[in-house]
């Protein structure tokens, strides 16, 4: 692969970013501006907002995110494995089985520990 092969992705990125910037820029010069307190609240009709949007998150999210990353990294190793799986034959299957089995121990632990439940 040459770097020029990524040109479409690059152009796409430029267009996407450019579109967003242009829209913001245009609306700030073309649009009328008349700020009223009513306009500034999150929902103009319906519920009145209570307190702030920034509330401390529960630590539960943290555990889930942490576990997600760990298993995400596990999944990353599967990509290169899939590329040469055919050549590695049974040897590749065994080594990946050991890798997954070790992490499966962790998964069983997490499950039985009840860390996946919303306590």
């Amino acid at each position: 692969m040459m770097i020029t092969d990524y040109l479409p992705i690059f152009i796409f990125l430029v267009v996407a970013v450019g579109f967003a910037l242009v829209t913001i820029f245009l609306s700030s010069i073309i649009g009328k501006r008349k700020i009223t307190p009513q306009k500034m609240i999150p929902y103009e009709c319906g519920m009145d907002p209570i307190g702030q949007a920034r509330k401390p998150f529960s630590v539960k999210f943290y555990i889930i995110a942490m576990l997600f990353i760990i298993f995400d990294i596990e999944a990353v190793f599967l990509y290169p494995w899939a590329v040469i799986f055919k050549e590695l034959k049974i040897f590749g299957l065994v080594e990946m089985a050991i890798f997954i089995a070790i992490l499966l121990v962790g998964f069983v632990y997490v499950w039985k520990k009840g860390a996946l439940e919303w306590e």
Partner: protein
């Protein structure tokens, strides 16, 4: 030529975004700039003909790890601490001075000698011809078989650690 231009562009954006990460008052804004930094790094990996690492960078770092960052920022909700920014004139002056000295040192090294490493088994042209992911895979699952399996033990330790430190009841 085109590649040089791309590299300079990415390097400049990476550095500016990295500086913005540390000067922001708002931690969420810092996190967003960090995402830009990580994305640009992925671009630099692409230029080094390492598309596999580039994709991993976006998937794991800019994706999963940034989510964790944001969770932690929101978990802590640093509204009050934001105002308590630690200011120490002497530390600032000293920091800038020492940083400058380090920069000068690095500059001197680069201007006096050409840093040239020795080529390993897989120079960029060869990797580009074979396909990056495939080269990584061939090495990872044969020569680096043992490190690969140790990684799974390392991840298992991380799982146990996360539960032991963060779960409500253990």
């Amino acid at each position: 030529m085109f590649e040089t231009f791309l590299f300079v562009l990415l390097a400049v954006v990476t550095t500016i975004a990295a500086i913005l990460v540390i000067v922001q008052r708002n931690p969420v804004a810092s996190a967003i700039y960090l995402i830009i930094t990580l994305f640009c790094l992925a671009g630099i990996y692409l230029l080094l003909s390492a598309p596999f690492i580039a994709v991993i960078q976006v998937l794991v770092y800019a994706g999963a790890i940034m989510v964790l960052f944001l969770f932690v920022i929101m978990l802590l909700n640093l509204e009050k601490e934001k105002k308590l920014i630690y200011r120490n004139r002497l530390q600032k002056v000293l920091g800038v001075f020492l940083g400058g000295v380090l920069l000068a040192q690095i500059g001197m090294i680069f201007s006096s000698v050409l840093l040239e490493g020795s080529k390993g088994k897989f120079p960029a042209e060869k990797v580009a011809a074979l396909g990056n992911t495939e080269v990584v895979a061939r090495l990872l699952f044969t020569d680096f078989l043992l490190p690969f399996e140790i990684v799974s033990v390392l991840l298992l330790v991380a799982i146990v650690g996360a539960i032991v430190l963060a779960k409500k009841q253990i």
